[in-house]
Amino acid sequence: MGDLLTTLGSGLPLVGAEVTFWWVMGRIGLVLLLVHVLLIVGALMVWAERRVSAWMQDRLGPNRVGPEGLLQPLADLGKFMFKEDVVPKHTSKWMYMLAPAISLVPAMVTFAVIPFTGSYEPIYGADGQPTGEYITQSWQIADLNIGVLYILAIASLGVYGVTLGGWASNSKYSLLGGVRASAQMISYELSLGLAVVPVVLMVSSLRLGDIIAYQADTVWLLFTQPVAFFIFLVASYAETNRLPFDMPESETELVAGYHTEYSSMKFALFFLAEYTHMIVGAALVVTLFCGGWTFFGLEQLGWIMGVLIFAAKTTFFLFAFIWVRWTLPRFRYDQLMALGWAWFLPIALLNIVLTGGALAFDQDWVLYILPVALIAAAVIAAWFKYRRDLDNDVPKLERAPQLVGVAGSGGEER
């Protein structure tokens, strides 16, 4: 079994290798495998979101279907499938059916260039002895030489599902939600694109494998490019239409935004698209800023370790998506647009100029000013908070007593 895995694995990095029939078949197999993983994780995210939300609000969440409610997504799928597929008369039929598909596909296809693991092999010198250096070779579905730009290009297509869904529904809530969402997504796409430029500037390559190798050799870009990291993270929240940027479906004013008129599996596809976008967004943050599938040499244990590291890091950022949802309130639309255009755009540009200047004149220390200052500020703030808490003698909040056996306390609620 182990030999088989190694053989399969070593067939993956094929830059410059001959393109055989079996190479293509292998890649197609990989596509099928990863698409299924993506869909299953997407479905599990629906469960995770509800459980984590419940945990943060001190309730239970779905826990009846299967162990810990893990089979809830399957039950949901069954319910979505057998619900009536209502296509209201007032909609533009073809566009109405096309929109959910269009919103799901770009999210899935982006995943093609993200390395999920790789090999880590020592370089042997002329005398046959290891030189102490390593080659980090990432494995992904498609190793495109314009990788980063490919991601931006495909991400820019995500806006169509929302726009068309809103327009085709021919309902006021849907249209408003769709138009708002499109304007928001294109505004933050700029910041997203600009935030990655400093990364490319430092790595000098658009291949995601090279970006990971650079981080494995030096330091995670999170530490040298904290501004780019922050902008990228926030912009990816806006791109996925999640709180605090869930303007397009702000329930309190627009019912459900662009998918108000959707039901059955079409609604489920929109839902799945949102979660797939989240997974891809988290995986991208991990790849571009947090070292991807590498973790300080732990990945040398084998490619399965790489998969685990990648999954663990991605899970953390997925958790952060939910965490932020229950922590921050929603932005107002004018605040959201002002943040994107008046703040993120110039800051991202300045960051590019600063990084470019530091690299051009070999003043690398400039890159470390901000992270050091941020850490110092955090330490000082924590110390002041500690002092103030000591002075005020704030009593610790006690957890409310659990009501055991009382009707309603063991119920499940979304």
Binding site: S92, W94, M95, L98, L144, N145, I146, L149, Y150, L152, A153, I154, S156, L157, V159, Y160, T163, L164, W167, L175, V179, S182, I186, E189, L206
Partner: protein, 184 residues
């Protein structure tokens, strides 16, 4: 293999383009136009112009078509309105435009096959380009990676690149002025 793929993607692009101009619903036209851009991008990939292919999707399919959709939705012209305002001789105009295009294209193809005359630098006679050459030789062949494109833009075409920024600036000012007047 690449030739066969070229015809597949070329046919896709052509069919999508035809559908784009024949659809009555403007939004459907826009969607077929997006499909056509994908066909073009695939053909760029076959020409090893990776960067151009991805920019085709990023700028045309991802940005300009969003603008188109916005305009279509913003105006939201009903089909009746379109029919009542459309010029009655529209088909005739279309035929004339197609004829002009054919004549123009014919002249371009014909002039390409003419004797180009002596080379202005060396004075040697140059060979006429074949109408359907097996291999088009146009300067040194470079692969269309982002790095090579960067080398060309930021080396040879530096002035054009800087002037582009002024062009973009002009467009920004124009857009703001045009929309501002209607807002107030």
């Amino acid at each position: 293999m690449t030739t066969a793929l070229f015809y597949v993607f070329g046919a896709t692009a052509l069919a999508a383009a035809l559908l784009a101009v024949t659809r009555k619903n403007a939004v459907a036209s826009a969607i077929w136009l997006i499909v056509m851009f994908f066909g073009l991008a695939a053909n760029y990939v076959l020409m090893e112009a990776w960067f151009v292919a991805v920019v085709q999707v990023l700028v045309y399919a991802g940005a300009i078509m969003v603008l188109f959709l916005f305009v279509i939705m913003l105006l939201d012209l009903r089909t009746e309105v379109l029919e009542s305002t459309a010029a009655p001789r529209l088909p005739a105009v279309g035929v004339i435009a197609a004829l002009l295009f054919l004549v123009g294209g014919g002249i371009a193809v014909h002039s390409a096959s003419l004797d180009p005359g002596p080379d202005p630098q060396t004075g040697e006679a140059r060979q006429a380009a074949a109408l359907f050459p097996d291999e088009v030789a146009t300067g040194p062949e470079i692969e269309g990676t982002a790095e090579n494109i960067g080398g060309e833009i930021f080396g040879k075409w530096i002035l054009a690149f800087e002037v582009t920024s002024v062009l973009l600036l002009g467009a920004i000012l124009g857009a703001v002025i045009l929309t501002k007047r209607r807002l107030t």
